[in-house]
Amino acid sequence: MEGKEKKPEQSVKNKSQISRRSLFGTTAAVAGAGVLASNLTDPIVRSAYAAGSDAPIRIGFQVHRTGIGATYGKWYERTTNAAAKYINEHGGMGGRPVEIVPEDDGTDPKRGADVVEKFATQHKVDFVYGTLFSHVVMGSSPRAGELKIPYFVVSEGYHVASGALNRYVFQPCITDVRSQISAMSGWIFNNLGKKMTLIYPDYAFGYNHRDYASAAAEKHGAKISAKLAIPPTASSFTRYFAKIPKDTEVIYHVMVGPGVLTFVREMGEHFGSNRPEIFGFIDSLEGVALDSPGLDFLNGTYFWEAMPRYADGYPTHGEKVYRNAVGVNANGASKSDSKDVSTYSHMFGCWETLFAIKEAVEQSGYRDKRDYANLIETFEGFQGFNEGIAHPQGSKMFSGKSHQCYGQQFISKVENSKFDVVHRTSIEDGYYEPETDYTKLPL
């Protein structure tokens, strides 16, 4: 395994806060006087002031319980509950317990927007978080901006960082596709081949892969011989494999949705042992056991993992604590059902984002929604997060301007129906200059 070590310091690095602290101090003094004077006023006001004590911090969890994202939603929910439990057992967020309020968005953009509205107006939560599928992110985020409620995304699309969304939206603890491809493309083109065919789903997330892989190819003197866009609801893929050019040296695939196992199986049926090199994104296999029938042809192919599924891939202390807390065994499956394989390369984002929210709440002294501006500015001041129990996937660099983080990536080879990590990128490998600056927008 290659890579660079990062020295753990304090959990969060941020800019000077002297002026904010003194402002908070003054406000607190005035608020305190107000509490004493207004016992019998408006119950909302009263509970808001009392929220320095035990009133829970309520986080609206927009979860893909049904629809094409259901497998991820199931694991996102388990990880979220495990993180909330861990945080509550260790003092909560600034002394206040965390309460998760889940709502199913059906992996549907329109329903996502409705759910955001429900969180803000009916449930009246403090924050909304948890969306994965990028078309749902695109559909829901504008509503969060309109309703002015902080919205934390656990997706991979290049949407937050593109500047297309708004200042209330953050993706602080899971890297985006552009960064992932930048980090790994050098290794892929130098080790696997310079003539590449791209296979990706026919929507925003897939287009990110198409665009950034194409850009990376140019940069490394490689060639994209074909780009095959597949509808996310497709159930049969043989027709696409027939279109792969004969001189392709490496196939790059990233598939999502219920058809992924069929995709991989049919790819094996199509090629047999006479195949080019294959590099896939673990998205194609999240929730799927590597020893499923028809997958043995994957032996000798390579995959991107954000967080190694098998415990020996990145065995740090933080990783062990996290894996145990979310109930995943050494093979990446549920401890209570070894056939229930996890979505290990995505769900860590839930755990880490909740901890990032905790850090922002504590740093900014957040009490209630009137402190949103303060919280957002505090978040924008974060430089990154240090590896540890709160951030078991690895250290992150964070850009306050683009509201997006950068992190390390793993490349694994499939051997004997198991992943073996062969390469680990550095955070710098995936860095790109932020192309947007949300801090310039009003709140």
């Binding site: 259901a70 509808p231 497709a234 027709r239 058809g259 049926e269 199509h270 047999g272 028809g294």
Partner: protein
């Protein structure tokens, strides 16, 4: 022209293979729908859900037999059509018969049935797609690419089931009753045909055929609660193009739609293939509203 053929032999062959498998399975599903409409004059919007139930029950059978997929498959071939046919019979007795097979009411009632079945499966089976192992797994190597041996078996088995259904229609007493009822239900009744029980049985057979298609197809793609919607759309297209009430028309149309879907999907886009199938329906409805082989009403 010849050069194009040479260059694209692999694609052409794949289109033919895929199209043939699609056509056979589509024929099986659409036949059920067509039978039900032909004999009962009922539009069954829940037909796709019977297909989905077949797939889900097949998953359950495979799950039950553990490490013996062949046994699970054989079990599913019996269990799925029987259970789904039974459900269909009950629906006919307690829903369709009660509303006297009124055309508009049956559409609404079967839509309701669709939602109930879908949501029940969602509640008990879950939202995720679950894979099912093929009973026989082998790869056929052609000169240009490999292909799933099981898919070829699916085409053969579907053909066999279609033959069986044809045999039932022309050689059995029930088949005779069905054809009589299809021609004219009132006159058939005066001749002593037990139309009420024929209706129940036809509905059950239609559902059973869809369920069998589900069992055959599920090892190729996974079982999930939403998988009935696309077959429903396609089988409606096939039945309309072929002509409502004509079984021969359904079969011919299934092959037209299936093979053309194969070719257009391989050379262009699957979405385009679906679009063209829908346009074809519109064209047929304008030029010959009763479909290719449909009978004039009255």
């Amino acid at each position: 022209m010849l050069v194009w053929f040479e260059d694209n032999v692999a694609l052409l062959f794949l289109a033919l293979l895929d199209g043939t498998v699609t056509a056979f399975v589509l024929a099986l599903i659409a036949l059920g729908l067509s039978l039900v409409f032909g004999v009962m004059r009922v539009v069954n919007v829940a037909h796709g859900e019977f297909f989905m139930l077949g797939a889900v029950l097949a998953w359950a059978c495979f799950h039950f037999t553990g490490n013996m997929p062949l046994l699970g498959f054989l079990l599913a071939l019996i269990v799925a059509p029987v259970l789904v046919g039974g459900l269909a019979m009950l629906s006919d007795r307690f829903i369709l018969h009660r509303i006297q097979y009124n055309p508009e009411s049956t559409i609404v009632a079967t839509i309701g049935l669709l939602y109930i079945i879908q949501q029940l499966v969602l509640s008990f089976f879950g939202p995720e797609a679950r894979p099912v192992e093929a009973p026989i797994y082998f790869r056929v190597q052609f000169p240009w690419f490999g292909y799933s041996g099981y898919k070829l078996i699916v085409a053969v088995l579907s053909g066999f089931l279609l033959l069986l259904t044809w045999f039932l229609m022309v050689r059995s007493k029930l088949g005779l009753y069905m054809r009589a009822t299809q021609q004219d239900a009132e006159i058939a009744q005066t001749f002593g045909v037990p139309t009420r029980s024929v209706y129940s049985k036809v509905f059950a057979i239609g559902a059973g055929l869809a369920a069998l298609a589900g069992v055959l197809v599920v090892p190729i793609r996974q079982a999930d609660y939403l998988m009935g919607l696309e077959p429903l759309l396609l089988s409606f297209i096939v039945v309309i193009i072929g002509g409502l009430g004509s079984l021969r028309g359904t079969l011919v149309a299934a092959f037209i739609v299936g093979i053309s879907d194969g070719f257009i999907s391989v050379f262009y886009e699957p979405t385009l293939a679906k679009m063209l199938a829908t346009v074809l329906v519109a064209a047929v409805l304008i030029v010959k509203p009763t479909g290719l082989f449909g009978e004039e009403p009255g």
